[in-house]
Every structure is written in C-alpha cells, then in structure tokens.
C-alpha cells in the first residue's frame, strides 16, 4: 500500500514545529482522513476541529501546502505526493493548539453589522428576482477561509479597521434585500473599512462554496459607497429622487 508523508504543525501560542507522520493512502482519502489516522494511531492529543466531513459546517479550515482549504474537501490524490503534505492552522487567527485557532473575532465583529430592518408596515411579499441575488450569499458556511486569506487581516492585521470578506457578503445580503430599509453605506465606509479592500480576489479563490465574493458582493458594495461619497451626479440624483433607505 502506498504511504503518504504528512507534516502537521504541532504547538500552541507559545510556539511549535512541524512533525512528520506516515499514513497509508487509501482511495478517495481526504486530508482530514489522514489527520484522523494520525490522531488514532500516533498522537491522540492532536487537536483538530471538525464536524460534518461534508464541506458544510466550515469547521475544518486549515492551510494545506500553504493554501487555505477545508481538510474534509481536499483529496490527497489532488496534491503532489512526492513531497510531504503540510497542514498548518489558519494563519490569520490566534492559535489555540495544533490545528485549532480562535476565530471568535469573527462572531464579535458580525454583531456590529446593523441588522435586517424592514419597514413597520411591511407586506411580506417578495418575488424570486428580488431575492435570488442574496441567495448566493446565504450559501456561506462561515469557514472563514476568506477571512484567513485576505491579506488585510492576514498580513496587515487590520482587524480594527477592516471587517473582512465574510462580513461584507453578510452586509451585501442585507443591503440588497428587497424589504430592508436601512442604509449601511456610512457603516461600510467607516466601520467596515471597505476602502481597504483592493479586490485581489483571493477571498473568491478560496471560497469552498464558490460564492463570487468580490464580483457579486464587495464590488457592488464599493459602487454603492461610490454613489454616495464619490459621485456628485449620483448624489444629486439621490437627493432629487429620494432614497428608499433610511
């Protein structure tokens, strides 16, 4: 039976190092299977977060050969096996132990987003063409791979200035909702820091749900901000016609 060499990061916030393991390769095996084999046969104290094993819970995010991916969705036969496969915890968030990081910042920052705000006398009738744009954003499984790969959070550590791609698609979902009445453009510009995004599209590249984060969420939001703050013609038009948003 073929054997695959795995190099896993072992350590905590005080430091750590790679440790190499040999795992028998089976057909259809994913990286998470190999990690479970290591946990069962070599190091029972190896920490790894996982849940559904079906790419739907977003728990098993890690960096495989340097790229942010879900370990449950990454088949070993798609990786070059002539060298050991490296598995690291996601870089953007503080490490707790081994492959497990503390992603709680995401939940805290999400609470700052102004919530869905329908009108008081809303008639709860919506048409498919009005809601289907937001349905793409609702596919998000909150794996935070987009937050991990975003260089603004990952390398520049701008967590106080920039809310990150996952939160921007949440705002897009709310902003484009046909029954929402709240204007989040000021929030987008100031608290969310949308101006920090330089649309290098890494968030879209790593999204396991294939959400067009940049093209369908971030850029349309940037354009909405431009309407109000950078386009005198649109600003005048909004003043003249009036905005449906509060």
């Amino acid at each position: 039976m073929a054997v695959v060499k795995m190099r896993l990061y072992r350590g905590d916030s005080n430091g750590g190092a790679e440790k190499e393991y040999e795992v028998p390769l089976e057909e259809g095996m994913v990286v998470l299977d190999a990690i479970h084999f290591i946990q069962a046969n070599y190091d029972g104290d190896l920490a790894v977060r996982w849940n559904c094993k079906a790419a739907k819970c977003g728990s098993c995010s890690a960096e495989i050969n340097g790229m942010p991916k879900l370990t449950c969705k990454t088949r070993l036969d798609t990786l070059p096996l002539d060298k050991p496969v490296t598995v690291y915890p996601i870089k953007t968030f503080p490490i707790i132990k081994d492959l497990v990081t503390d992603v709680s910042w995401n939940y805290k920052v999400r609470k700052t987003i102004p919530p869905f705000t329908p009108a008081k006398d809303t008639k709860w009738v919506m048409y498919q063409e009005d809601v289907e744009r937001g349905q793409e954003f609702r596919k998000c499984i909150e794996c935070f791979l987009c937050q991990d790969v975003c260089h603004i959070l990952r390398n520049h550590d701008k967590k106080n200035e920039f809310i990150g791609p996952r939160m921007l698609i949440k705002i897009a979902e709310l902003e484009m909702h046909p029954l929402d009445t709240l204007d989040r453009k000021e929030f987008l510009r100031d608290q969310a820091g949308i101006g920090y995004c330089n649309i290098t599209k890494c968030c879209t590249e790593v999204c396991p749900e294939h959400i067009h984060i940049t093209d369908n969420a971030i850029i349309p939001l940037k354009e909405r901000v431009a309407d109000t703050y950078f386009d005198p013609l649109q600003w005048l038009l909004e003043k003249f016609k009036g905005s449906p948003k509060q």
């Binding site: 990061y9 350590g11 905590d12 916030s13 005080n14 750590g16 960096e63 050969n65 340097g66 790229m67 942010p68 070059p80 060298k83 490296t86 690291y88 915890p89 870089k91 953007t92 968030f93 503080p94 490490i95 990081t101 048409y127 063409e129 009005d130 790969v149 260089h151 603004i152 990952r154 390398n155 520049h156 550590d157 701008k158 902003e175 484009m176 909702h177 046909p178 929402d180 820091g193 101006g195 920090y196 995004c197 330089n198 649309i199 290098t200 599209k201 890494c202 790593v206 093209d215 850029i219 349309p220 940037k222 354009e223 909405r224 901000v225 431009a226 703050y229 950078f230 386009d231 449906p244």
Partner: protein, 243 residues
C-alpha cells in the same frame, strides 16, 4: 509572527504561484511600453481609410504642440487603470499587494491603506472614466464605418475587419464593466418594479462574468489594430481588399 500564529514564512505554497503575476507584469508592461511609444511618436497612424485606434478621434488642434493621441488616451487609460479587473492584476503584479493568495505582500505589516486613502481612493471615480471611454468608443465605431469608404467607393479590406473587431472587443469590455453593471440595475434592491433594468442588469452580469477575458482580448485587439495600421504606413505589409 502576529497573534501567536503558527507561520512566519513568506509563504508555505509550493506551486508556481509566481508565474501568473510575472506573466501579467511582462504582458502589461510590454503593452505600456508599446502604447507609450506609439502615442508619443505622432506618426504612421493614418493610412486612408484606416486610422489607428490610438489616434481616434483624430484631433488636429493648432494650440496643441504634442501628439494628438495624448488628448484622447487619458480616457481609455484611466478606464483600464481604475478597472476592477486590472486593479487586481497590477496590485498583484506590480505592487505585490499581495503577489498571490497566501503569499506575504511587499508592504510592511500594518502600513497598508488600500483604497481608503490617496492616491488609490481615486479608484472610486471609475464610472467617470467609463463615461469618457464610452465617448472614445463611439468614435472608434465611427472610424470602423469610415474604413468601409475607399477612394473607388464602398468596400471591405482586412483593415476594415481589424477596426470593426477592435471596436467590438472594446464594446464587450466596456459593457462588461462592473460600474456599468451597477449603474444599469445593480444599484436597485427591488428588481421586480423595474423589469427593463433587471433584464439589462442580467445581460451586463452575463458579460461581467468574463470581464477578465474581455479585458485581455480587447487590450490585444487595440494593440494589434494599431500595429496593423503602423505596418501599413511603413509599407511592411499591404492591405488586402476583400470586397
């Protein structure tokens, strides 16, 4: 190592992540050098009935001592420079911000301001360059139709097809623009009340999915259209009359 994270290397990637930004830098850089040379040369741009797209519309102004191309090219240049696709391309290739996903950017940790401050905050006026480039595009179509008019009457030469192809590719690039997609309908929250704008937004969205493709082919198209007129003017090639 920020926040007790586990890695401090430039990247742990082992694939050829550097190839795409390198190729982009070479191709975009080559186009920049070629177009600057052609725009400044002020020669070999008109061979009746063909006018190079770098000089369209041809403006003969006595008060302007430089190449007439400079009166025009700011519009398409500004449109491409602020284009959402090209921003990704040159931020990665020239600014290494970052050069590829999960690769450390060139800028020092924490020094980054993105498009929130000058000069890159000016990317927000992309739509105004879209309007200006639209005017230039109109004249490119006019020139393509003028390329049907030969000394002995109406006809079609290879140059005619080249100029029509150039105008068509630039139209596809312009109509797939993210700002256009927003202005034509993307800024609406309730599509069902504006079915025409919803339909137009749908068409713009379909084109927008291939915006990168249109950006590249239209870039090559405009360079090749200019090169065709240049080679004709220099007598290196002869135009073939098809009809």
């Amino acid at each position: 190592m920020a926040n007790g994270t586990a890695q401090n290397a430039v990247t742990l990637r082992r694939d050829t992540w550097w190839a795409a930004p390198l190729i982009t830098a070479v191709v975009l850089g080559s186009f920049g050098i070629y177009s600057t040379w052609r725009a400044l040369s002020n020669a070999d741009f008109l061979v009746e009935p063909y006018l190079s797209p770098f000089y369209s519309p041809y403006i003969l102004a006595s008060w302007w001592p430089f190449s007439p191309a400079l009166l025009i090219l700011w519009a398409p240049l500004g449109f491409r420079a602020t284009c959402y696709y090209y921003r990704k391309a040159y931020y990665r290739s020239f600014f290494l911000a970052p050069p590829a996903c999960a690769v450390r950017p060139l800028a020092k940790e924490g020094s980054y301001a993105g498009e929130s401050k000058l000069p890159f905050i000016l990317q927000n006026i992309h739509r105004y360059f879209f309007y200006a480039a639209g005017v230039v595009l109109f004249f490119l179509w006019v020139d393509a139709f003028k390329a049907l008019k030969f000394e002995d009457g109406l006809g079609v030469g290879v140059g005619t097809l080249v100029l029509f192809a150039n105008a068509a590719l630039l139209s596809l690039y312009s109509l797939s623009c993210h700002s256009f997609r927003h202005l034509i309908g993307g800024n609406l929250d309730v599509f069902s009340k504006c079915p025409t704008r919803f339909m137009l937004w749908g068409k713009a969205s379909a084109l927008n999915e291939h915006h990168m493709l249109w950006a590249w082919v239209s870039l090559f198209g405009v360079a090749l259209a200019d090169l065709y007129v240049f080679l004709l003017a220099r007598g290196v090639i002869t135009d073939v009359r098809l009809i």
